[in-house]
Amino acid sequence: MQSMLAFALQLLIFPGIIFLLFMAFFFEWIDRKVVARIQNRYGPLYTGMSGILQPLADFIKLLSKEDLMPESADKMIFTLTPLLSFSLVLTALFLFPMASSRAIISFEGDLVFLIFVLTLTILNSALAGYGSASPYSIIGGVRSALQMIGYEIPLAISLAGPAFSAESLSISGIVEWQASRGLWMILLQPLGFIVSTACLLAELEMIPFDIPEAETEIVAGWMTEFSGRKLALFRVSKDLKMLLASSLLASLYLGGAQPLGLAPPIIVFLAKSIFMLLLMSLLRALFARFRIDQMISGMWKYLIPLAILQVMLVCLGVGRIK
């Protein structure tokens, strides 16, 4: 009974849902603030200490707005896609070891499950664009599906690199392997790290690859028709995805949740994933948007050969420790 209760608390509060939601808002705040400072703006300023509550305030504001649905939209798809995108990303976040070296859910093959969920969220957004039956939304949805053709393969290949080295297809297993060897995967597979960072930027639809929601061309892409509570759910799921991408990089390449001296694993883990978030925000602030054909052919021309090269190096035994 006692352990049941402790487990429910774990699921709902600490490394669970409430903690993840607040971290997602916190990560959005960091991202917005850093990008604003790089661009010589102030960023969020008034709500809370230097605007730290601004993402939460935005969320509540969106909830209180009128929820519009275009007459031509597919009612079921239009209602279901925000819910699905929220719950899929939230489920995937339970696969990461945060508070201890084992995640709440870990099984052999959860890395493959994670890639599957990432693909599903993109298909979900393509479906959302298709279901809202507006020209901008349809173009945005098609672009997001096209973009997936570009980055899905290098992402999967480069994430297979750590799995290949650690001989484990589970994220917790890879983290434990790094902890037991006492070194980080980024030192062994720097190429894979670069490729997966670029692909995760595309996954998050961040600036060099924000083609599906290019503001200046197609309003808000596949999100154009969503408003009110549906847009709020999409925004939260995007923040959760930001948390997911940075914890993926931190877990697979930076050693993830290991205790370091007196610091408990959760602090180390958050420090590493915030560092990864800062890297992604910096890239977002530095670059300009690619065109869709540049993006896809660039991915196939440069990133996939790089990812395969990384795998071949690992096969040859470069940076492979028994």
């Binding site: 899905e152 709020a232 096969c315």
Partner: protein, 111 residues
């Protein structure tokens, strides 16, 4: 520790979906209700212009990538599960796949 993934995964997904649904319903309570007259609100957004009759999207030039996508997806999972194989097999497989890309880079026209 409850680590039985097959029961835990659906439970967590249901939990997250319920939370999303709760936010959705709560947002419905909280939100402003529009009047009976909808007018332009129910028309797709088109920057004040009349929306075009049909949207044309040219996907032909991306067809090759879609076909390659199907092949390479298999490659990624083969690599991920081949860690216990003798080292020359995955290496050889990766070489073949790399040659597939090289072929396209040499012969492809619109890259």
């Amino acid at each position: 520790m409850y680590s039985d993934a097959l029961t835990l995964l659906p439970v967590i997904f249901t939990l997250s979906f319920t939370l999303g649904l709760a936010i959705y319903v709560f947002g419905g309570r909280l939100s402003v209700k529009g009047g009976g007259e909808k007018g332009a609100k129910s028309v797709p957004y088109a920057c004040g212009e009349n929306p075009p009759e049909e949207t044309r999207i040219n996907l032909e030039r991306f067809f090759v990538f879609a076909v390659y996508f199907l092949i390479f997806d298999v490659f990624a999972f083969m690599i991920a599960v081949s860690s216990s194989a003798y080292w020359i097999l995955p290496l050889f497989y990766a070489l073949i796949t790399l040659m597939a890309i090289a072929t396209y880079l040499i012969t492809g026209r619109n890259m």
